[in-house]
Amino acid sequence: MSAKKMSSMRRNYTVECVVKYIVFALLLVVMLFPYAFMLNKSFMNIVDINNSGKILFFPKHFTFANYRIFIDYIGYFVNSFIVVVINGLLVPLTSCLVAFPLARYRFKGDNFMFTLILATSMIPSTVLQVPQYLLFVKLKLYDTLASQFIGAFFGGSGMQIFLIIQFMRAIPKELDEAATIDGANKFMIFWRIMMPLCMNVFIYIGVGVAIAKWNDFQGPLIYLKTDAKRTMAVAFYFHFGASGDISLMTHVKMAMAVCMTIFPAILFFICQKQMIGGVKLGAVKE
C-alpha cells in the first residue's frame, strides 16, 4: 500500500472516530439523562427534593451525606452477594448441561423436551406464585436464603437454555466426531470440548442472571422474612417503599440506588469482552 493511501486511510479513520464520538456524546446525553438525574438527586438535601413542587435538576445544596446510608446495608450486601454468586455460576452450568443433548443429538422425545423448555418461559409467573409458595413452605425453604438460589441447581429459565441451544448448534460436528473416534464419552465431549467453546455464552448468561437477581425484590419479598436474611433489593423496598418518613427521603433513596448500580456496572465492565467480543461460533477451524 502506498504511503499516500495509508495516510488517507488514517485520516478517514480519524474523521470517522470524531464523528462517532460526537454522535455518541449526543446520544448519551439523552440515554444517561435518567441516570444523571438519579445521581444529582443523591446529592440533594431535603429542601431541594421538595422545593414546593418544582422539580430541580441540579442540587442547590450539594451534600455527600446521603451516601452514609450504605453502611446500614452492608449486611444485606453480603446476602445479595451470596445469592448472586451462586446463581451466576450454577445457572449457566446447569443450563449448558441441559442444552447439550438437545443441541447435538437427535433422540426420541427431543422435540417434546425442547417445546417443554420453551413453554416454561411462557407462563406468567403471577400464577405460579401461590402454589410455589405452598411448595416452598412444605419443603422448609421458607425464610431461608436458600430459597433464592435453590432454583439455580435445576437449570435456568427456558429462554436461557434456548439461547445456549442456538449457540451450540452452530459449533461444527466434526469436533464431536473426532473426539468420539478418540474414545471420548458424551460427558467428556461436553466437558472438554463444548464448555470451553461456550465460555462466552456462559459468562453472558451468568452476568445476566447475576444482574437480574441483584435487582430482584419480588421473589425475596415473599420468602425472606427475618430482617437479617434480606437481600439488598428487598431491604431497599422494605425501607423505602413503606410510607412514613423514610419514603420521603428521596435523596437518600437515590443515593442507595446509585450504590446498588455500582456492583452490576463493575461486573458488566469486567466481563464485557467475554460477553460481546469473542463469542466465536464456527470459527474454530482446527
Partner: protein, 486 residues
C-alpha cells in the same frame, strides 16, 4: 405425535383428578369453634407464662404504638414473651391470606401470627375469607371479665361483622382539620372555628392566599411562605374516609337501605363539582396525590385533613422534615346541607387457629382496658375507643401535650359531635352493610373514580356527570352479579 398428545392428555387428566380430590377436602368449614374455645383459659392470671406473636405494618406510628403496648402489657404479664413482626403495608393483607392458605394445607399454623393489626376497611373482606378471624364474640360470652359495651358505639359498629365482634378497636378516629398557626399568623387570618360553613371556609382560603402573597415571612427552611405554599389544603382526596362523608354531607347516597343504587344524583354531582372548584382555584393539590401530609409537614400547606393517628408524624421534627411547630386543630367545616365527619377505627384481631390463644386473648383484653388504652394514648397518637376514657376530661389523651402545639389546639375537635342528637360521625360501614362484601372494593374504586376524573381529560361538568352515571351503572351491575351468584 398423536400418541404423544394422547398420553400427555391422559397424564394431565389423571393428575387433575388426583389434585382436585385432594383439594376438595378443603371445601367445607371444618372448624369447630367450641373445640377451639376450650383452648382458651379465660381465668388466666398475671402469672401466666407463655408466648405471643403479633404482626403489624412497619409504619413508624404503628410500630411506636405496638411497642408502647407491649411494654405496658409485659408490666402486667411479665412471663409472657412477645415477638413483634412487621410487614410492609403493601403486601400485608395478601400475606395474611396466603399464609392462612398454606397453614391450612400444611397443618402448621406457626406461619401466622396470633394477633394482628386490622383496619376497619378490611374487616369485612377478611371476615369473608373465612378461616382467618377468631370470633371474639364467643370469647366474650365465655369470659365474664370482658364486655364489648366498654367501647364507644362508633368504634364498636365498625368492629363487627355480621353483627358480631371480630376485632378489638384500639382507637376512635375522627377526621379533623389541622392547621399551621404560623402560616395563619403570616397571612393575618383568624384561626378557623369548628364547623365552619362552606362559604366561610372558601372565604378563609381566599384570605389566606391574599395574605400570604402580601407577606414576606419564611418557614423553617428559609423559603418564603408565598412561594412555599402552592396548595393551601393538604388532603388525600381519594381517602375513603373523606370521599364518603363529603358525598353524605351534600346529601348523596351510594345505595338505599334496600340495596338500590342511588349514586347517580344531582347531590353527587354537587359534591364532585365543589371539589372541582377547590381544585381549579388551586386550593387543593392533585386529587390522586400519594404524598398527602408531606406538604403540611414541610410547612408548605396551611391546612391538613386527617385523624389523630398521625399526630406525632406531624409534629416530629428531624433535620430533614421540620414538622409543624405551632399546630392547631379544630373540627371539620360543614361543606353541604348535612354535617358529616368521617372516621373509624383500627384495632387488633386474633387468628382463628392461633397457636397461643390464651396469650392472644389476654393481650386483646389488655388493649381494651384502661391501662392498655392509656399506654397507647401516651404516644399521643390515639383517641381511646373505650367510653370511660373518652368522657374523662383528665384522660391521658387529653393531658398529652407537646411543645409543637399552638394555642388553638383543641382536643374537643377529636370527639366533636359525639354528643349531638344527629351525630355527624359516619364511616363507610354506613353503606357497605347494604352491599355484598365481594363488591365492596369495586364500589370504593367507583366512588374514587368519580372524584379522580377531576384531574383527567374528561373533566367538564357534562363529562363528570356522565362519569357518575357510568359508575352508578357499573356498581348496579356488579351488585346484581354478586347477588345472582348466591
Amino acid at each position: 405425535m398423536k400418541k404423544l398428545i394422547c398420553s400427555l392428555l391422559a397424564v394431565c387428566c389423571a393428575l387433575t383428578l388426583c389434585v382436585a380430590a385432594g383439594c376438595g377436602g378443603n371445601g367445607g368449614n371444618n372448624n369447630d369453634i367450641d373445640a377451639l374455645l376450650k383452648q382458651i383459659d379465660v381465668t388466666a392470671d398475671d402469672e401466666y407464662a407463655g408466648e405471643l406473636v403479633i404482626l403489624t405494618t412497619n409504619e413508624a406510628s404503628e410500630v411506636l404504638t405496638m411497642e408502647s403496648l407491649i411494654k405496658a402489657f409485659n408490666e402486667k404479664y411479665p412471663y409472657i414473651r412477645v415477638t413483634h413482626r412487621t410487614e410492609v403495608l403493601d403486601g400485608y393483607y395478601n400475606g395474611l391470606t396466603n399464609n392462612t392458605g398454606v397453614a391450612i394445607q400444611t397443618g402448621d399454623h406457626s406461619l401466622m401470627p396470633d394477633v394482628f393489626w386490622l383496619s376497619q376497611d378490611f374487616l369485612q373482606s377478611i371476615y369473608d375469607q373465612e378461616d382467618i378471624l377468631f370470633p371474639l364474640y364467643r370469647i366474650d360470652e365465655k369470659d365474664d371479665g370482658f364486655s364489648e359495651n366498654v367501647f364507644a358505639d362508633e368504634a364498636l359498629a365498625v368492629s363487627k361483622a355480621n353483627n358480631n365482634l371480630y376485632m378489638i378497636p384500639r382507637d376512635y378516629n375522627q377526621v379533623v382539620m389541622y392547621f399551621n398557626e404560623k402560616i395563619f399568623d403570616a397571612a393575618k387570618v383568624a384561626y378557623p372555628k369548628p364547623q365552619m360553613s362552606k362559604d366561610e371556609f372558601i372565604q378563609m382560603l381566599a384570605a389566606l392566599r391574599a395574605g400570604l402573597d402580601a407577606s414576606d415571612e419564611v418557614n423553617d427552611y428559609g423559603v418564603p411562605y408565598k412561594t412555599a405554599v402552592t396548595n393551601l389544603v393538604d388532603v388525600n382526596a381519594l381517602w375513603d374516609s373523606w370521599v364518603w362523608p363529603l358525598l353524605k354531607g351534600f346529601g348523596a347516597q351510594v345505595v338505599t337501605p334496600d340495596g338500590q343504587v342511588a349514586l347517580d344524583s344531582q347531590e353527587t354531582f354537587n359534591a364532585v363539582s365543589f371539589w372541582k372548584s377547590l381544585r381549579k382555584n388551586n386550593y387543593v393539590g392533585s386529587v390522586s396525590t400519594t404524598n398527602a401530609g408531606v406538604d403540611f409537614r414541610m410547612q408548605q400547606a396551611a391546612i391538613y385533613f386527617h385523624a389523630r393517628a398521625t399526630l406525632t408524624d406531624i409534629t416530629s421534627s428531624t433535620k430533614q422534615i421540620r414538622g409543624v411547630q405551632k399546630l392547631g386543630v379544630t373540627a371539620l367545616p360543614q361543606f353541604g346541607e348535612k354535617y358529616a365527619i368521617g372516621g373509624g377505627s383500627s384495632g387488633y384481631a386474633m387468628y382463628l387457629n392461633a397457636e397461643h390463644k390464651t396469650e392472644a386473648w389476654l393481650f386483646l383484653k389488655f388493649v381494651a382496658s384502661e391501662a392498655g388504652q392509656n399506654a397507647f394514648c401516651s404516644t399521643g397518637n390515639g383517641v381511646p375507643s373505650i367510653k370511660s376514657l373518652l368522657s374523662d376530661d383528665n384522660a391521658v389523651w387529653r393531658t398529652y401535650t407537646s411543645p409543637a402545639f399552638g394555642d388553638a389546639f383543641d382536643n374537643d375537635a377529636f370527639v366533636y359531635g359525639m354528643d349531638f342528637e344527629e351525630k355527624p360521625f359516619t364511616s363507610i360501614h354506613d353503606y357497605t352493610r347494604y352491599i355484598p362484601a365481594s363488591v365492596q372494593e369495586d364500589v370504593l374504586v367507583s366512588l374514587r373514580t368519580c372524584f379522580a376524573a377531576i384531574d383527567g381529560d374528561a373533566s367538564s361538568d357534562d363529562e363528570l356527570k356522565a362519569n357518575i352515571t357510568n359508575q352508578a351503572g357499573l356498581i348496579d351491575y356488579l351488585i346484581k352479579q354478586a347477588q345472582n351468584k348466591k
